[in-house]
């Protein structure tokens, strides 16, 4: 019987066979505690501005999670995640205007339909090498960047596209009925993000995770072991697209307005910088997605607050991300999530070393 502390952890066949280790229980309790702190303490402690910034962090954590799972587990790179975010946002906005379905249902719909798009995009995954696949997703992003400025986003208008030019006729995309205020929407977003992480964890701990691991290490060996490579590679795309679609829905509800500026050709750099932060955050652990979102959304806000230089030159952040990406690729492929604790441990050892030597000398020769 799984302990209470791991009720959020998902059981797989293997986990049922083993008993749950105390480490997992402790970790789950800590994560639960942190989550509770974020949900209940932060909205009280922080101003509305920082809550809104953290809402954006939560939304992008889901997007980064998709890429994290795709690259970290299945070894596939997609440069079209921001384009899928646009697709998810569009679908969610359209349903929110067209129907009076509850918000969670719309999120699910957006996720599923975006997953369908992503699966179609992933079909070439079966036949192309990593580089060619990444480039095809880049081509897809290019198409979306051209189409979106023409179709625009739904804003309460009629017709298939649901977009009206008249500013008098444009409406805001509605938020969930239980989460109207910024603080409430923040909690809502964090909970949905946590659910997405659980979804990812469920896959990683289960058969899918093992299959992906096998594919990543050696495709011929995985094939020989009877793993359906086609299916699992495609499924990675489906999962990542589903998450990005849900994130798109959250993004639409965040401000209630979506514009094509975010997704036009001039902002292609965002897809590149997303890839950079996901890699910097670390792809060997799901937490890397949280670090990635912090880098992409929280760091700019902090730097903006602390340094006039960044307020005046916000684009300089790209330089930092570029350097960070190169650093990660060359020296620390595991990313910050694994690298940082390792660095801290090394630092700790460095600090303790002189004390150890001294106490060793005081003890005298053995």
């Amino acid at each position: 019987m799984p302990a209470r502390g791991v009720r959020r952890g998902v059981d797989s066949g293997a986990a049922r066979a083993r008993s749950v280790s105390p480490e997992t229980v402790v970790r789950a309790i800590l994560i639960g505690g942190a989550l509770a702190f974020v949900l209940f303490a932060l909205p009280v402690l922080l101003s509305t501005y920082w809550i809104k910034v953290l809402t954006a962090v939560a939304i992008f954590a889901v997007v980064a999670l998709g890429l994290n799972v795709l690259f970290g587990r299945a070894g596939l790179v997609s440069l079209g995640q921001i384009a899928l975010l646009a697709v998810g946002g569009w679908i969610a906005a359209r349903f929110l205007f067209l129907t009076s379905l509850p918000f969670p249902v719309v999120l699910l719909l957006a996720g599923l339909l975006t997953a369908a798009v992503g699966t179609l995009l992933g079909l070439p995954a079966l036949r192309l090498s990593g580089l060619h696949l990444a480039l095809i997703t880049l081509m897809f992003a290019g198409v979306v960047a051209i189409v979106v400025p023409t179709t625009n986003f739904p804003n309460g208008g009629s017709g298939v596209l649901g977009h009206t030019e008249s500013s008098l006729g444009s409406l805001a995309i509605r938020r969930p009925s239980i989460a109207h205020s910024d603080e409430a929407y923040f909690r809502y977003t964090v909970i949905v993000a946590a659910l997405m992480f659980l979804l990812a964890l469920a896959h990683v701990s289960a058969k899918a995770g093992r299959a992906w691991s096998a594919i990543r290490h050696s495709e011929p060996a995985a094939l020989a072991a009877g793993v359906n490579i086609t299916l699992y590679k495609l499924y990675a795309f489906t999962l990542a697209s589903f998450m990005t679609g849900v994130a798109g829905g959250l993004y639409a509800g965040n401000v209630g307005k979506l514009y094509s500026y975010q997704f036009s050709g001039a902002r292609t750099i965002d897809s590149v910088s997303l890839m950079a932060v996901v890699l910097m955050g670390g792809i060997f652990s799901l937490w890397g997605a949280v670090v990635a979102a912090v880098l992409q959304q929280l760091l700019p806000a902090l730097l903006n607050d602390w340094f006039a230089f960044f307020r005046e030159n916000p684009d300089f952040l790209f330089v930092i991300f570029g350097v960070g990406l190169l650093q990660v690729l060359v020296t620390a492929p595991e990313g910050l999530v694994t690298q940082f604790p390792r660095d801290m441990r090394n630092l700790g050892r460095l600090i303790i070393k002189p004390f150890r030597r001294r106490s060793g000398a005081a003890k005298g020769p053995p």
Partner: protein, 306 residues
């Protein structure tokens, strides 16, 4: 109504070839480096853009002679690419081509950030002296500048000269071997570092020259020049990143196709005519071509850890 009057399309054959020349030039530059080092240099556009901006500053804000400023662009392209290749080439050399390309995306981020910081966005134009001379194309009723012809010719020149260099010279063959399999090539006694350095330097000079030409042909805009690379990548992908000649032809074809869609302004309907999506053609063509070329199922056997 789908316009079938040939007169409407005539002038766009010329602008299409001009655009195609732009795509071909970029595409060939990228494939050249890929053939010589196995790295898909996605920073190709950004390098050229920064070089062009430096040239612009030297021309408009200093008393440097113009020819020296143009040379500065080409030299800058060579230096930056060379520096990147020498520093980040070897550590990433054993990695998946995707990782190597990702590294160049890091360089793109750095350069784009620097360009935004150093050159605030307002209208800058680079007018090369060759743009003052043009030839009238009677068939189309428009003029073609000398720069456009040079751009096209440069693309053709690079294609054939570099293609011949790679195939027939010792250094070129060494580069191709290196791109194919670095480990085995090094055991054959080829001076790996030096050959690689030469490849990076050469392609960097091409990037610089292309950047200078493109800044006149397309406009001196950092973001536009940087991401032009994606459209020209389409041409490179159609050629499967292998053949320089195919890249060039594909670039021209894609450019022609894009421009020829311009007159289709009311079909299938007035709000969403084909013309509005004309700039998606490179991407659509590339996707279709890639899917068609990848018909046969392949199990990828990666030699190295990604």
């Amino acid at each position: 109504m789908f316009p079938t009057d040939f007169e409407l399309y005539k002038p766009f054959f010329v602008t299409g070839l001009a655009l195609g020349g732009v795509y071909a030039l970029s595409g060939v530059g990228i494939v050249v480096l890929y053939r010589a080092t196995g790295v898909l240099n996605l920073a190709f556009g950004a390098i050229g853009a920064m070089g062009a901006l430096i040239s612009w500053t030297l021309i408009n804000h200093t008393s440097f002679p113009d020819w020296a400023s143009y040379l500065a662009c080409i030299v800058f392209g060579g230096l930056v690419t060379f520096a990147y290749g020498v520093i980040f080439g070897p550590p990433l050399a054993d990695r998946d081509p995707l990782v190597k390309a990702a590294g160049t995306l890091g360089l793109t981020l750095i350069l784009l950030g620097l360009m935004s910081y150093l050159w605030p966005p307002f209208g800058r134009t680079m007018l090369l002296p060759t743009s003052n001379y043009s030839y009238h194309v009677g068939f189309a009723g428009v003029d073609v500048t000398q720069t456009q012809i040079i751009g096209l010719a440069f693309g053709v020149l690079v294609t054939f000269l570099v293609g011949a260099f790679l195939r027939f010279t010792k250094l070129g063959t060494a580069m191709r071997a290196l791109a194919d399999d670095r480990e085995i090539t090094s055991t054959l006694g080829v001076p790996v570092r030096r050959v690689e350095a030469a490849a990076w330097l050469g392609s960097g000079l091409i990037a610089g020259a292309a950047g200078l030409l493109l800044s006149d042909l397309v406009g001196l805009d950092a973001v536009n020049l940087t991401f032009l690379v994606i459209s020209s990548l389409a041409a490179a992908l159609i050629a499967r990143l292998r053949s320089l000649v195919a890249t060039m032809v594909a670039g021209l074809a894609v450019g022609l196709c894009t421009a020829l869609l311009t007159p289709i302004l009311f079909w299938p309907n007035a709000s969403f005519p084909v013309a509005k999506y004309q700039y998606a053609s490179p991407f659509v063509i590339a996707i279709v071509a890639l899917l068609f070329l990848a018909r046969r199922r392949v199990v990828t056997v990666a030699r190295t850890e990604g």
